[in-house]
């Protein structure tokens, strides 16, 4: 087989794999434009009358508030996690003392047990602090989980950046902070993008903590979608439309930062 033929076969194979991997999403997307009767038509039709009623219905329900809550909570927790975690990762990377490795390990503590292990303590503490059903409460929860991710993802980036870069800046009169913000931070763009998207995804997709720690005011979109499963019948079209809406920001965000994503995820893998 010629190399061109081989490449063509590989491309076809990749396209088939991509369609297979995306088929649940495509099914959901198509379902969101169908009426309930059309959703349950058997066998399903390839061409069907398209309806936007499910999306319009989302707008009329509390889902829009929950969607906004999800955006606020995810963006806030991502920004705060990066704001705290990135300098922390840099500091740990440059720490020459003996405790650095131990501290880095302990930072992972919040990830050492399944989330359900933290449920009762968080619930009781939040009730005492009156943080139940608040956006602040959710941001704090996601922050605690995302901080370890930020530190563990960003530290290898800083490890691989030669210290001589910031030392040169110090010789030129820069402070340590200026060396970090003007020299080191701009070089860690891909890592920041990859870390940001993972933090955003964790907060955006979280169902468990949003289920336990919210009621109505701070309910996020993943929980709101489940609320279309009524006792006397599920609203399949709205569930599909809500699911599609939930996937949309992640797709847009990933598309925007895709250039950095691969290098960001692998950047710290090989030191040298």
């Amino acid at each position: 087989m010629t190399s061109r033929g081989a490449r063509l076969s590989m491309n076809v194979f990749a396209a088939v794999l991509a369609v297979l991997a995306l088929s649940p999403f495509l099914w959901l997307l198509v379902m969101s434009f169908k009426t309930n009767a059309e959703i349950f038509r058997f066998p399903p039709r390839l061409f069907f009358p398209v309806t936007f009623d499910n999306y319009a219905a989302l707008w009329e329900t509390d889902f829009r508030t929950s969607f906004a809550n999800s955006l606020v909570v995810s963006v806030s927790s991502t920004v705060v996690s990066l704001a705290i975690g990135v300098p922390a990762a840099y500091a740990l990377s440059r720490w020459t003392g003996s405790g650095g490795a131990a501290i880095t390990l302990w930072i992972l503590a919040s990830r050492m047990a399944p989330p359900i292990a933290f449920t009762i303590p968080y619930f009781l503490a939040y009730r005492y602090l009156e943080l139940l059903d608040t956006l602040t409460g959710l941001v704090v929860i996601y922050l605690t989980f995302n901080l370890s991710l930020v530190i563990w993802m960003m530290r290898p980036f800083y490890d691989q950046l030669p210290r001589s870069l910031e030392e040169a800046a110090w010789i030129d009169g820069a402070t340590r902070w200026q060396g970090f913000t003007r020299i080191i931070l701009p070089l860690s763009g891909p890592g920041l993008a990859a870390t940001a998207i993972l933090c955003f995804l964790f907060a955006w997709n979280d169902f468990f903590f949003a289920l336990i720690l919210t009621r109505t005011e701070a309910m996020t979109a993943p929980v709101a979608v489940v609320n279309f499963m009524n006792y006397e019948g599920w609203e399949w079209g709205r569930i599909a439309a809500g699911g599609t809406m939930i996937m949309l920001p992640v797709l847009v965000f990933s598309f925007v930062v895709r250039r950095y994503l691969v290098s960001g995820l692998t950047g710290g893998a090989i030191k040298g």
Partner: protein, 444 residues
Amino acid sequence: MAKLNRRTLLGGSLAATLAAPAVNAQGGKPYNGVTINASCFQTTYYEYLKNYFPQFQEKTGIKVNFTMQAFPVYNQRTDLELSTKGSAMDVCNVTFIYSGRWIGAGWMTPLDPFFKDAKYTPADWDPDDFVSGAQSAMKNAKGETFAFTHEAGAMLNIASRYDLIEKAGLKMPETFDDLVKVCDAIDGKDGVKAFVADKLHHWNWIPYLMGNGGSVFKAPPENLTPTFASPEGVAAAEWYANLLMKYGPDGQLSYSDDQAMRAQMSGRANMRTQAITWGVPLVKDATSKVAATTRFALMPAGPKGNFPGSNSHGLGIPAGSKKKEAAWEFIKWAFSKETMNMIVEKHGYPSVCRTSVIKSPKFKEVMTLNGQDVAALYLEVLQLGGKTGYMKYRTVPVFPQVGDKINRAIDKIATKQQAAPEAMKQAQTEAVQDLQKAGFKVDP
């Protein structure tokens, strides 16, 4: 004698309004400014009822902050809230499958001091009017009541294409043998599978287990030794798994309640033994293709009798509530004869639990479906559950865990991963472990 003028007339009318029955026996608005938090899973009764909350507030001064969530979301949140004795809720739904756990653990408030005291409740509120079968899940072993019911499920045999059964020269099956006979005759006719069920075998299968002479536990709630792997249980499991696989549509082992209903509604599947809640939409939903051909009958009986499933959900007051009197005012109003009759009359609600409402001409009119008096069938099933107490198995605290084991066993038998005796034995062993972990004694 006081002079009759506009002011005294207005004052008199206002006093009469405030002293309205079933609102506050003391008259006045002692709860003015009080807000109570109430919660339930999403169900149509409260979708309808919340339209009348302003009237309740006008009468009592109590503002109701009522939230509804999806069934699994509600149960998860409420279980956590109750288990930590929180005061966030003043009124909550007592979900049938959790009633044993929530009541047994002391997480709910006994309502007897409220409904037995004329200070709080007038005699004509009539607590005995609630169907005994529905109420039995809301009581503890001492007979104290912890909730009043607003929603009951009564298992019936629901055929979406009765015309196919008639065409085969048969009628609605009355026994398990009849059921198989009818399934054999109609399966695949007009592209319709004969039978359908959802994946909750721990609800759907039990009537077949009991009809065959088996039981889930030895003598619930006193003796919770699992007994469903008995020879009768194994035979019932094998029979039921065969019924599903031979006559059911592909993929039904993963069907939710709603998917099974949609299979019937779209004319893909015919009979289903399930609560009436899932049968009424076949006739009343605008998108149903089987509205004219749907028929209802009692659940078929087994060699040992007829044990249709029945369940109920009710409103109670969490033990941690700090506004119990106001909470009772709400329950009293929400489930008064007047309110329930109004919901039936104005909205056609089909699952009420008050006998007087079920027997009312309006309810009969609402529940006369395709010429059939379904209200009578509904009441018969609810009363059956209350008479012999065979539904007690379902309200014991550990039933959710045991039910999971039953679900898995039936799935394994249906998909031929395991033979019935082994699958049931394994499920029973695991159920015993669950019970022992939860601190229950089981017979050796």
